[in-house]
Subunit: 83 residues, 2 copies
């Protein structure tokens, strides 16, 4: 299988952070000024967010974007685990 892209891993890192913060996709979307469907697509790696949108998501999760990207980069190819 193809190696996951950064945006794939970024989505997983966002989902983890969001769940750890006890937020729904709707909560996160509202904080970041995004549509809930867009948040869902980012988490699934379907959309590759721009730097500015990624920064808004990170800020809404109260984490720095460099830190969130580091977490994403540290993820193994573990898509397909829990849906």
């Amino acid at each position: 299988m193809p190696s996951p892209t950064l945006s794939d891993r970024f989505g997983i890192a966002v989902r983890r952070r969001r769940l750890a913060a006890g937020l729904s996709q709707e909560n996160l979307a509202e904080r970041a000024g995004l549509h809930p469907t867009y948040v869902s697509m980012v988490e699934r790696g379907v959309r590759n967010p721009t730097l500015d949108v990624a920064a808004r998501i990170a800020k809404s999760l109260k984490v720095g974007l460099p830190q969130l990207i580091q977490e994403a980069e540290g993820l193994r190819a573990e898509r397909g685990g829990r849906k």
Copy 2:
């Protein structure tokens, strides 16, 4: 004047790294698989790159994307200095 966005600052950080590495925009574009015009637009903050493109640019500059974003975030609102 409006506060520069992350993509504005990212462009400045990319340009600094590129010049420090002795690369032309064409060199960087070729390494990253991008069009030179696109690299120019990213450097000027005209285009807000996606995470995956930003990662390709960082890799081509032999720097981690988290590091490059940290450098961008650390920049003051110093656009409009040297053209």
